[in-house]
Symmetry: C2
Subunit: 348 residues, 2 copies
């Protein structure tokens, strides 16, 4: 119990050589019946755990993990990912894990395909990416499979047998969480669901959130709530504001809004000078959202923890390659509610 058994110990106890023990352990055959029995007897007695570090030492290989995420300049939601990747790289310095970060234009499927193919050509051991374009992602995932490259995805889900690990959140449930928050803040009233730039992104992402949100309220016994959805584009900021304010004017009794992507600051900003200020629940701790959370323009943010998603995914891959640790196929992170006072603990 107190000792750590090695193959050498087992060999000595069984009265055979290390080689024979190895053949038994790895079921390589070429072992006589008597030797097999002797070794198995010993193995039954003790709790043998191979030393993963010795195993890895022999492999003597630098594993290449490539990460492909949207350009952080275009959408600051991805900024924490970049930091997480950097931290991971530092933490695994010396362990023979090499990380490289690539970026694609989140508005261009061509950019995604092109960058991904460039990465595949470099033959990494694994690629971690965000499949915001479902169709193109399927293509890339298959090409990776054919090239013998493991693929993990995070934040956005696609159903594919070729994907080894998904890390994300339960979007439907996060809609319910948001609903629960507004339900507590509001005894009754009219609530707006605001989708921004729905057309240019994985629409199912937003719809799942809406479904959960509506489902929560329709499950209530009381019938005190009215819910309306507004899908709105931010291509043209002026038009964005006009459309939003028009919507609010048409629905004077609207008291709260659920903004389904990381742009709740746009909504908070648009209404900041009106005398009637709606409650807002949004997503993600991007700088501008945090600003409005702290000054009261936004009431709650749900943190999708992009940074934790990447680092967790990378950790799984690293431990898989270094130590043969199995990777779970799906991990859903908890849905994190953040208010003005708790937000600082999540930054850094």
């Amino acid at each position: 119990m107190d000792k750590k058994y090695t193959i050498k110990d087992i060999a000595a106890l069984a009265g055979v050589s290390k080689g024979t023990v190895d053949r038994v352990l790895h079921k390589r055959g070429k072992v006589s019946e008597t030797a097999l029995v002797k070794v198995n007897n010993v193995l039954d007695e003790i709790d043998y755990q191979p030393n993963p570090m010795a195993k890895n030492l022999r492999i003597n290989k630098v594993f290449k993990l490539f990460v492909l995420i949207p350009n952080v300049g275009k959408d600051s939601f991805w900024l924490p990912c970049k930091d997480g990747i950097q931290e991971f790289e530092d933490a695994y310095k010396g362990f023979g894990i090499k990380v490289e970060n690539y970026f694609f234009d989140p508005a261009s499927t061509a950019s995604f395909l092109e960058t991904a193919r460039g990465m595949i050509a470099l033959q990494p051991d694994a690629i971690l990416t965000v499949p915001i374009f479902a169709k193109e992602a399927h293509v890339i995932v298959k090409e990776c499979y054919e090239a013998g490259i493991k693929v993990s995805i995070f934040n956005n889900f696609i159903a594919s047998d070729y994907v080894h690990n998904f890390i994300g959140q339960d979007l439907y449930q996060s809609g319910r969480v948001a609903a629960n928050l507004l339900h507590m803040l509001l005894k009754k009233g009219h609530i707006g669901i605001i989708h921004i730039d729905e057309e240019s992104r994985n629409a199912t992402h937003l719809q799942e959130k809406e479904k959960g949100f509506r489902n929560y309220f329709s499950g209530l016994k009381s019938d005190n709530y009215q819910i309306s959805t507004l899908s709105i584009s931010h291509k043209d900021p002026v038009k964005f504001k006009a459309t939003l304010l028009e919507f609010l004017d048409e629905n004077e009794n609207l008291e709260a809004m659920f903004v389904t992507i990381s742009k709740s600051h746009l909504v908070a900003d648009a209404i900041k000078d009106r005398k009637q200020r709606q409650l807002i629940v949004g997503y993600d701790l991007v700088d501008k959202n945090v600003h409005y959370l702290k000054n009261g323009g936004v009431n709650f943010l749900i943190n999708q923890k992009p940074k934790e998603q990447v680092t967790l995914a990378l950790n799984y891959l690293a431990e898989y390659f270094l130590f043969d640790k199995p990777i779970p196929s799906e991990v859903l992170l908890p849905i994190v509610i953040v208010n003005a006072e708790s937000v600082d603990g999540y930054l850094v």
Copy 2:
């Protein structure tokens, strides 16, 4: 860049032997000026990272990490810790890390001292514990130091030079978070702060939370809130309920309660049949709290993440012993707000 340099590589590049490189790297002296220059030239060129796994392999030692927590039967708050320790143990199977879990009676300083001393006698490499008894903890921590045993603490803080790592939460700030929540739920009114069994536990723990809570409200421009504190014992459950209800009857306008420890379910249970139901914000996802959170008897819980605290602390210790990773002296986990819909993601 692509290759992983080893001492052997450096030796070859510098035209010296491995031994000389080693002496330079570890500044052991006994190196000629010329050899020193040659090796340093190579080291300047390349980015050498020693392989932590090879280093550990030759140490060939089983590290013993002992954990000392309050008896989980007496206070289920500690239950997740036990699970976390088990998970950690499984994850590090094979790495030469041995974990043992010990328990003390949270109502007895003698039990703490006795168990801790029994552990010290077994000469572990590190002890991780919860210093709920500050004075006794200082004694034990010092004895550990003298015995050459590293000490990490979690959940409760004591200031000691002999403690290598503390993992916990900002209690003052968590009080502010709770206050912020009730501020959003309540435009104005009378709020009670409920301490339970304050005398039998680290009182500063609860007082920090109260301070943060009160500080939040006194910082508001408006003067719409009145705050009262009730310290109450649960030694006698009947008396507990009577005292609490008496307090509520005396303060008919009291609309919300902030329960500063993991026993908010006691409060929720006591008032569940009254027609006036106060809002409740409490701490920790123990079963009974979760039950009342889900049925609406409790509105929010702040999750102190005891399980994450232990596993994080154990991870730091393991990586310190195995790979010489430095341990930060203090880590404060974010303050996690949980509602009825988000709670399931935190269980398991």
